[in-house]
Subunit: 310 residues, 2 copies
Amino acid sequence: MNKKYRVGVDLGGTNIAVGVIDENYNIIGRGKLKTNVPRPAEEIMADIVKAVKMAVLDAGISLDEVESIGIGTPGNVNKEKGVIEYANNLYFNQVPAVELINKLVDAKVYLENDANCAALGEAIAGVGKGRKLFIAVTLGTGVGGGVILGGKILTGTKGAAGEIGHMTVEYDEEETCNCGTKGCLEQYASATGIVRLAKKQMVETSALAKIDNLTAKDVFDEAKAGDAYALQIVDRFARYLGVALGNVAQIIDPEAFVIGGGVARAGSIITESIEKYYNDSVMFALRGKQFNLAELGNDAGIYGAVRMVL
Amino acid sequence: MNKKYRVGVDLGGTNIAVGVIDENYNIIGRGKLKTNVPRPAEEIMADIVKAVKMAVLDAGISLDEVESIGIGTPGNVNKEKGVIEYANNLYFNQVPAVELINKLVDAKVYLENDANCAALGEAIAGVGKGRKLFIAVTLGTGVGGGVILGGKILTGTKGAAGEIGHMTVEYDEEETCNCGTKGCLEQYASATGIVRLAKKQMVETSALAKIDNLTAKDVFDEAKAGDAYALQIVDRFARYLGVALGNVAQIIDPEAFVIGGGVARAGSIITESIEKYYNDSVMFALRGKQFNLAELGNDAGIYGAVRMVL
């Protein structure tokens, strides 16, 4: 049978999202399941295959027609061995993902870091289209990043390049980040980090104090509504992120930054608040870079995961 | 006449150092003059040509045999226009260097950032030889950096990539850096930065308090001799630099770091003190990178400047 379809899997801390892509780069079928962490890696891998089968069914094709499955996963990936070395958000440690999936389905399976996939997705089909050198930042449960260089992901020596979320931005942090160190960008600029910041020194008169199960969205919504404390939290978020991206620019000098992930749905308040701190922190030659919101939303990861198998 | 020799110029805040390179990559002649800043760019360019002539004479060749002159300069370079856009240490602003030199000598003239040249020099002939992806840091009057990727310099969109010295490492700095922003790595990890740190809260009982015209070398010497205050300064230097290089690693994931420049002559105290803070600040996958002292010393800049014209 003609194996002409490719499948992209965006494996996240919350969802497993799958897309079947045709030869013209359209998503022609989708599948989605909850990740439900923590649970054994074998179960999650089995659910990836299940979600792939759902997407194949949705596309009206046969599993035999699938040439390859590209998986974007959080954490650190050993591509040669097909192993997810560790992924804190998934509670994974040395998971032989390719082997586990190949026990269940006969297709080429490839791994890549999820933030890299999102970056690559935006490079192929989204706001980064046509750009040669840009930085994609994903503000979700964690903070991911990807460096796109000459249209490709910079993976680095051990596949850990682009891990912007674990840049140290605060020397005085007392709480430990998921990665084991302290003061990482992710502790201030992820959805969880923003909530953590807000709860830490909550001002009782703030609208935020009255919200149960506070989310990052609440913080941005109340900031837009003019709540002084929410504005303060957004300002702290923006300072950490803006200066960190300034430091990225000092090293890479990219054409632009693309900001995606759930937090970025707050819209232009994100890019506008970052830009000020960014421009204040960088050398003259690096000022005035473009900050774009990602265009593809959740599909960026699927597109990027597919792309890597080309 | 057969133009078979290339010339590399390392233009620094203190010296203009020139080397003539033969086909086998040997330096066969040298010239050196003081830069003597501040003075008009035209004079400095004329002295570059003078130092080139000295090197040509030293090599026993003729100026007509020089095919190209590569110049490594501090600051930001527009290669297409042949302009040094600005270089704080040289008091340069929009200097049409290629044009000025070509008025005096008939050879192809190329510009590159000096730290990039030093990085490339180490990549070709020094400790970085054979490495594909590494970071070179130059601790001199300022702090320069270069990212070597696939054996080439990463220049970035506007030639400002690798400017590690102007990464923001301190939010609370009150003094302004040469670049116009505050809290740059250069303010703590350059020779001048180290002296500034030492003088700021000088402890009268320290051996450093007794030294006139304190230098960075004095600080490292007294630290090696066990002076408590000098050790404290070295520790602060190491923290800023170690965490900054950790942040570079989070983005690039290089094979190794190469530390050069005048400050690096202090030896292994530099790499050892940095490594601790580096390893404490990065993700697990990035720990244990090699920190090497540069091997070529002042010649790295000459080699790198020549290389870029190949």
